[in-house]
C-alpha cells in the first residue's frame, strides 16, 4: 500500500497536485489508517440506509471502478439504483469500463438525464433546464416520481461538476444551488446518495460546499479509496 502511494504515479508529473497529508509523519500515519481497498470501503457503505457520500476523483483516475462496485454491490443486495446522468458522464464511465474489458449492464436501471445526448440505461426523463433551480427541481421531481421508490432511495449522481460548471466561481449562485438543489435532491431521510465530483474541474467553493454537506467524503487514488470524512469521532473510521 505504501509502495503504491509513494510510487511515481502520484507525484512528479501530476499537473494539478492535490493537497496531500504526506508532508508530516502524522500525515503519513493518517493515510495508512484511512486508505483502504476500494471494495472493502464501498461494500460497507452499501449497507448504510442513509447519508450523502461524496466521491472525489482526479481527472486521470478511474472513478468508473468505484461506480462499478456500487452498482454491482447494490445489485447483489437486490437493489436497483436511480442514476442521475449529467452531461453524458454515465456514457463516459461505461466506455472507460468497456475498454478495460468490463461490460456493466444498466438496461434495467432508471436514469434521469440532465443535458447530454447519449441515452444509456432506462431513461425515465430529461431535465434540460439547469440554471433556474426552482424550475429544475420541479421538473426533476416530476420525472423522479416515475422511478420506483426503492431506486429513488438509492441515487447515484454522475457529473456533479458539470451541473454547476457555468456558475461554480460564483459563490452567491452556488449558495443558492446548495440551498435549493443539493440539500433537497439527495435528501437524507432514509435515503442514500453517491455524488461523483471531478476534482480538477470543480472550483474550491463547489468542492468545499459539497464536502460540508456530505456525511462521507471519499477520494479515489488508483485502486484505493481514501476516507476524508465520516460520521463519528473514533479515528474517523468507517
Amino acid at each position: 500500500m505504501t509502495q503504491l502511494l509513494f510510487s511515481t504515479k502520484f507525484f512528479p508529473f501530476l499537473k494539478h497536485p492535490l493537497p496531500r497529508l504526506t508532508t508530516t509523519l502524522y500525515g503519513i500515519h493518517l493515510i495508512l489508517k484511512r486508505v483502504k481497498d476500494m471494495n472493502t470501503i464501498i461494500s460497507r457503505l452499501l449497507d448504510l440506509s442513509e447519508g450523502i457520500i461524496l466521491v472525489e476523483y482526479p481527472s486521470t483516475s478511474h472513478p468508473e471502478l468505484v461506480f462499478l462496485e456500487i452498482v454491482k454491490g447494490w445489485k447483489k443486495r437486490g437493489i436497483t439504483p436511480l442514476i442521475v446522468d449529467i452531461r453524458d458522464t454515465l456514457h463516459i464511465f461505461l466506455q472507460n469500463l468497456h475498454f478495460k474489458g468490463i461490460e456493466l449492464k444498466v438496461d434495467d436501471v432508471p436514469v434521469i438525464k440532465e443535458r447530454g445526448m447519449i441515452k444509456v440505461g432506462s431513461v425515465v426523463g430529461h431535465v434540460d433546464v439547469i440554471e433556474d433551480f426552482e424550475y429544475h427541481l420541479a421538473t426533476y421531481g416530476q420525472i423522479a416520481a416515475r422511478a420506483p421508490p426503492e431506486s429513488r432511495a438509492h441515487t447515484i449522481v454522475l457529473g456533479m461538476e458539470k451541473f454547476s460548471f457555468t456558475f461554480m466561481d460564483n459563490p452567491p449562485k452556488l449558495e443558492r444551488y446548495f440551498e435549493t438543489v443539493t440539500r433537497k435532491y439527495v435528501s437524507t431521510e432514509g435515503r442514500i446518495g453517491f455524488l461523483f465530483l471531478n476534482l480538477n474541474v470543480a472550483s474550491e467553493y463547489l468542492r468545499k460546499g459539497l464536502e460540508q454537506d456530505s456525511e462521507y467524503v471519499l477520494r479515489v487514488e488508483g485502486r484505493k479509496v481514501q476516507v476524508l470524512k465520516s460520521p463519528g469521532v473514533i479515528e474517523n473510521e468507517l
Binding site: 453524458d88 478495460k100 460548471f165
Partner: protein
Amino acid sequence: MNFEEYLSKVSPGELVLIEHTSLSTHPLAFHKIGEKYGWDRALLVDIIDSSLPVLRWLRLSGINTPQDVMRIKVGGVSNWGNVILEVDPHKDPGIFLSKFSRKIREVYSKNDFTVTILMNPERLIPLQNGNRHFILNISGMASVFLGNPKRVAFYFVNREMADKMYLALLEEAFTRVLVFTEKTRLTVLKSPEMEEEGGEIELD
C-alpha cells in the same frame, strides 16, 4: 516502449489525448500516427491552421510530410490537403459545431475506419471568450464518439495554453492520456490498463 508499439495497444473506439507543450516534439507523434494508420484513413481536424507549424517542423527535420489528407478547416487560411469542410470558429458556436458534427458523422458512415487527428481544439475557447457553455459543449462533443468502433481519435492539446478545466474534462472522458514530460518522451497518465500508468514512451 516506443510510440509505434504503444499505438498498437490502442483499440478502435478509443480517445487518446496527447498533452504537449510549445517546445515538445509532438510533430513526431503526429507523423507516427499518420504512418501507422495510413494517411489515407486520416481525418485531420485543423483548428486555425495548427497543423502548419507541425508540418514545417517535420519538413525542416527532413521527414516526409503528408500531402493529400482529408481536412476539416476550423478557421485558418491555408488550403493544403483535401479540404472537405470549412467552418468559421469566430461565428456563433451553435452553427459551426452542428455543421462540423454533421460532416464528421458523414465521414465515419462512408468509411470503414477513420483515424481522426484533432489539432489544438483548446484554441477555440479564447475565441469564444472562455464561455463556459461552449467549454462544456466542445468537451461533450469529444465524448459523443467515444466507443464508436469505426474510428479512433487523437487530440493534440497544448497543456501550457489550454484552459485547465477543459483539459480536465477531456482527461476524464478519454481512455488514454499521454503527456510530454521531456522533449521526446511521453508519460502515460491514464490508460485502461492501469499498470501502464506512470510508464514512459520514447518517441525517437
